[in-house]
């Protein structure tokens, strides 16, 4: 006989709600004593190495003796969407700190918060001018002949383009959760995977940029939330009740919230350029992408390439990332490193802390 499937016992429900109330009360007390400054992200000690227009380049203070520092500086190329702090979100889950502990000389690009006057910067400006200028400054400042380039998501796509245009300046290219083939984004039976790119393929980006100028971070955030609207907009906060009485856990949750919702707007022309050239027309893999008057040919990627991807990535599906292997010029020195995590978890997840930076550092030292 069929059983009545909703069995709410009054005493159990009362107990559950009493627990919720108690945690809530403790959490709200903790929240009243917190300031915005307490929710610190990107806190690893660093100096501004170079600054221009709206961007800055940080050099992180090494934590190993000078003679143990890896001789090739590494520049982290960050996305234009969301802040650089994803690589340094909390002290015990920081890709940057892990690299420093491995003896890597870390430089990080912070694209900053573009203003309206930056709206005409397009991908040409970022790749052939800004990144090239940064690479030249780091080469000159460090005395190294070449640099290692480490890309985060869209920052990896920019790094790929740069490396294809200037292989003479890049010793090794490391990519993490980087979209390369923007038309290989669907995974059978997983409708939330690659949704963002699916949406991007048909959007009228001209209308957006003409009307908005820079594309507001909030518009992009809504797109990210649409991959799981109920869980991310409601369920997540209902579940947070369970960590409210743990101040450190609460602080870490808030760090993630701060990073997620505190991202920069994207310069209008860069957005238009990226959506049209990469997402809609897939010109990076078709070989039709032209930046700075030169064709971006992935066969020019003659340096060793380490391509790291997240197996459970729903924003940048693995097939989009690993497509790079079919196009690089130097297949002998091309390696993939899958990590069992998601798009953000690759930088902030507990397990990833022991895999990503140590794995990359080991590979860099071998190349």
């Amino acid at each position: 006989m069929m059983q009545f499937p909703i069995q709410f016992r009054a005493d159990a429900v009362a107990h559950e709600l009493a627990e919720v109330e108690s945690k809530l009360s403790a959490g709200l007390t903790a929240l009243t004593s917190m300031t915005d400054e307490d929710v610190d992200i990107g806190s690893t000690p660093k100096d501004v190495f170079y600054a221009r227009e709206s961007f800055q380049v940080y050099r992180y203070k090494p934590v190993v003796d000078a003679d143990k520092l890896h001789p090739v500086p590494m520049i982290i190329s960050t996305p234009l969407i969301n802040g650089y702090e994803v690589a340094d979100l909390q002290p015990d889950r920081s890709l940057v700190r892990n690299f420093l502990n491995e003896g890597i000389d870390v430089y990080m690009i912070n694209w900053g918060y573009p203003k309206r006057c930056d709206r005409y910067n397009d991908i040409n400006d970022y790749v052939t001018d800004f990144i090239d200028d940064i690479v030249d400054h780091v080469i000159e400042g460090s005395g190294a002949e070449k640099i290692n380039l480490f890309g985060i998501c869209m920052g990896g796509t920019l790094a790929t383009c740069y490396s294809a245009l200037h292989p003479e300046k890049v010793r090794n290219l490391v990519l993490t959760v980087t979209p390369i083939d923007f038309h290989r984004t669907k995974v059978e039976g997983q409708p939330h995977v690659g949704l963002l790119f699916e949406m991007g393929r048909s959007v009228n980006v001209d209308a957006m940029v003409d009307a908005l100028g820079n594309v507001p971070a909030d518009v992009l955030n809504v797109s990210f939330l649409m991959a799981s609207p109920f869980t991310l907009m409601f369920g997540k906060y209902a579940d947070t009740v369970d960590l409210l009485d743990n101040k450190e856990a609460l602080l870490n949750f808030l760090r993630m919230e701060k990073w997620l919702f505190g991202g920069p707007d994207v310069p209008g022309e860069a957005y238009r350029h990226f959506v049209k050239e990469f997402i809609q027309n897939n010109h990076l893999v078709s070989g039709d992408l032209v930046l700075g008057g030169r064709k971006v040919d992935l066969k020019n990627l003659s340096m060793p390439v380490l391509n790291v991807y997240a197996e459970r990535d729903h924003l940048v599906p693995p097939p989009s990332t690993i497509a790079l292997g079919e196009h690089v010029g130097n297949k002998k020195d091309y390696l993939e490193l899958p990590i069992k995590t998601g798009h953000i978890g690759i930088y902030t997840g507990g397990a990833s802390q022991k895999i990503l930076a140590p794995g990359v550092a080991k590979w860099l030292k071998e190349h």
Binding site: V13, D210, M226, A238
Partner: protein
Amino acid sequence: MDWSAQTNEMMKTWGEAQKRLWSGWMSLAQEAGGKGKAVPSFDPSQFFRMGADAWSGLKDGPTQRFTGNLFGTPEVMTRSMNMLMQAWQTVAPQIQQGKAWQPDLQKLLEQWRSELSGLPARTASAGADFAQLSKSLFEHWSPMTAPWLSMLNQATAGGHPGAGFMSGTAGLGQIMGFQEMFQGPLAQLNLGELPRGTVARDKMGKFLKVIDAMKDLKAAQDEYQKGLSEALSQSVERTIEHLVKLGEKGEKVSSPRELMRTWYSIADRTMMEKFNTPEFRGVQDKLTDALMNHKQVQRDALEMVYNQLEIPTRSEIDEAYRDIHAMKREIRALRRALKDATPKPAVKLAKKAKEFEANEPSAS
């Protein structure tokens, strides 16, 4: 026990739980509100917003945003649960009797869909549209436009907003505040018709575009809302199916939060399927276009006002930015060309020479 009785029992338990949940949250919010702000009891959303602000004491920081979300949680939780409970109450007797429960649920879902998508469609008059436009201009845009728009609003209060710019001098006179000029003997000469006619048509065109854009936006929003409400009601249906399967297997859900999580998970998946259909993608793209067009034509209309007041417009400033950007690019290219043409610094040349000497075979 009879399922109707069990459902009533479940509803009673949930009702009491809700009371308890709300009372706990209210006292917390009240405590927060007591820190310096009066708490209105008639407006729950305002009540909780104030509570959240008072608790966090921050402006626009992550703590404040999070506290706001926390305070909104019980409302979302109870609404979600109430929806599911109501759906379950509707179908439970049929399920127990082994009858088809879907038709009754469909009736309920149809009612929800209608409520969610605002049907039956309200036909807004052009006058109401225009009042809405003016309100949005007053609220969100520069106060500089207020007197001008106020005049325009008065002039068009009696009919279609375009009338203010069309059909001779009467409306135009009202808008420009020159009624007297176009009345009496001067009106016989039609003095105002020719030069102002062109200007008026241009202005009229821009404002009519705003009205059209608002109508398009409303239609696109309705269509989008309809799509969302379809997915939402489908997720409720799937959740009931899931519960039926649990019952058949002799399994159960024993906590409100567990039920809520189950529904959210099913709802997310249902939404994903909807978002991936070409039809919904088309509806979403149409909404984006309508939103962007609305913004663009509003700006065009407003810039007309700014031009009259000799205030620089967004378009003019953007044009200046574009020129500056082009010049920056030229400067960068020149700098790079200069750098490439400049001989390498002496130190580097010396270093190169030294390396060369070191590699040369010894002369001795």
